[in-house]
Amino acid sequence: MVEPIRLLLVSDFTISGWRPFLTPEFKTIVAPFGQAAATLMDGNSEIWRDQPEMACVWTLPEMAVPAFGELLEHKPVTLANVLADVDMFATRLHAAANRVQALFVPSWTLPVYDRGLGVLNMSPEVGPAYFLQKMNLHLAESVREQGNIHLLDAGRWLSLAGQGATNPKLWFAGKIAFGPAVMKAAAEDLKAAARAVMGKSRKLILLDLDDTLWGGVVGEIGWENLNLGGHDPVGEAYVAFQQRLKTLANRGIALGIVSKNEEEIALQAFDNHPEMVLRRDDFVGWRINWRDKAENLAELVSEVSVGLDAVVFIDDHPAERARIGQALPDVLVPDWPTDKMLFVQALAQLDCFDTLNITAEDRSRTAMYVSERKRRDLHKGVQSLDEYLSSLDLEITVEALNSANIKRATQLLNKTNQLNLATRRMTEAELTAWNETENQAVLTYRVADRFGDYGLTGLASLQFEGSQANVSDFLLSCRVMGRGVEQTMLHVLSLIAERSGATVLRARYFATPRNVPCKRFFDEKSGMSLEEDGDQARYSWDLSQPLPIPYYLRLRDPGQLLGDGPNSLIVATL
């Protein structure tokens, strides 16, 4: 059973009514009423002793930003006055954010029943709605650099709740600012955000074809007669659904197909239909045959090297959805509308894809997976593993942690589970600080082959203690496992350690439910000796020579980390 996350709630209104909506994912601690500022600023106060892992600071704009309160009373106030108060509030958030893994801040809202100044509501001089938008935007800019403060779109919650969003009776009776419908929507978004922080976003959507991606059964009517596009409302709805899927792919959510069909007939539809938005190269893989969908899905997921808990399955047929839900409970199988014109809405409402960043590598993830599919096809045509690996023309580029790669490196550190030695989780600020500490260094590894660039997929860190060099972190994306990258990472670490004068390289493995592949690598393929076995196994290598690098790999060191220049990571003072 997963432990609930300790969540501190800080507010200037009665927020305890939110707690029932936050279980079971969170165990909530509520800061004392009326002490939001003090709670944020005073890290020694008792409320912080429970060491909450995350916090949510939900305030009313007229309380948190006093100048805005004066604006609402029609006192003369300038935008500069208001933004100065926003800056003060941001300072408090920064103070609190240093004590938690993530700090969530719902954006400021006004009661939905309040017309404000009507036609003047958006006036840059006096309009409350105008000022409120400026406040929220300014706050978003002010907290951006911190890295672990995340603003949540509370305006959307109030829109969803409609008239029931705010009720003056709740306020007068109990200083309750929002109705239960707002609380429900807020809880759903907070849980989605927490999943993003924990690296548990879904990464792969597997789709049925007939009456899911297009109207009609392609094997019966041929691709020419599919209902897709045209001037038909349902046809247009299918196109919009495909466009929305493509949008998700553009930000790093991979797409795949699991369909009961003749493969060639189905693929012809992708190749030939003029209104098809998605084409073959938009899919990282497919299983199109007459076998059981659960078996097909499990096989495809294994091929793509993601966990079942990273997968969403979409199928118009309730029986197929039930089959997957029952056979593979870790796969998310959302209820799906029978009305095709609501498919795009159903997809847009899914909250399982939230991430904290969208990096350039996320955007190119589909292309990377497609390249991987082509590599698998190549593998089928070669005789031995060595022959296959040699034919890939693999190249690994090692770089120090820097401002250009910190976001991706942090994402990798927090999302990688299987090949992860110590499973340390850190924010950008924490990782940067660790790297900048004397006798410690973080290295990143980019992998490419003749089919394409996998991107930044490896991270390792080294810490010197006397004549001993310790591998503090060692992690690799599962999509490049088993190609010698792991050995190359260790080779680089051992080179730096050996040239720095260390006599032994050590690595301590910390067992988790998911990182058995890492132990298997260190036991069987790393070349290091096992000194102590068990859940905290320890490995060592005598640094009289570096660990070997596979013969078929090329190592690039553009920053000369391994040389004698100013960027060298060789520690001169051992």
Partner: protein, 107 residues
Amino acid sequence: MAGRIATDELVKTVASALQSVAPDVEDISAATPLTGEDAVIDSVGLVSLLVTLEESLQQRLKDSPADQQFELPPLLLQQESGEGSGKPFRTVGSLAEHIAELVSSNP
């Protein structure tokens, strides 16, 4: 006589309102306690429940035939004035009965 609403229907209405303010409460029945030591909600939850109930019942009564419409006395004010510390607000079932009496007693 104002429109009657059967008590068991009102139990469902109260249960549904309770579910909307306290989704973590399971197996809601007429016996589910709303006040007292074993209450499934705290005082804040009770306020939210009563306001939510008032809204949904008021709407329902407005939708009734014209000769059966009336204004439901605010449940929240009754609770605040101390009537809620007694039996009517003790359980889901007692609250449903109380509402049924309020509705049927209106001339």
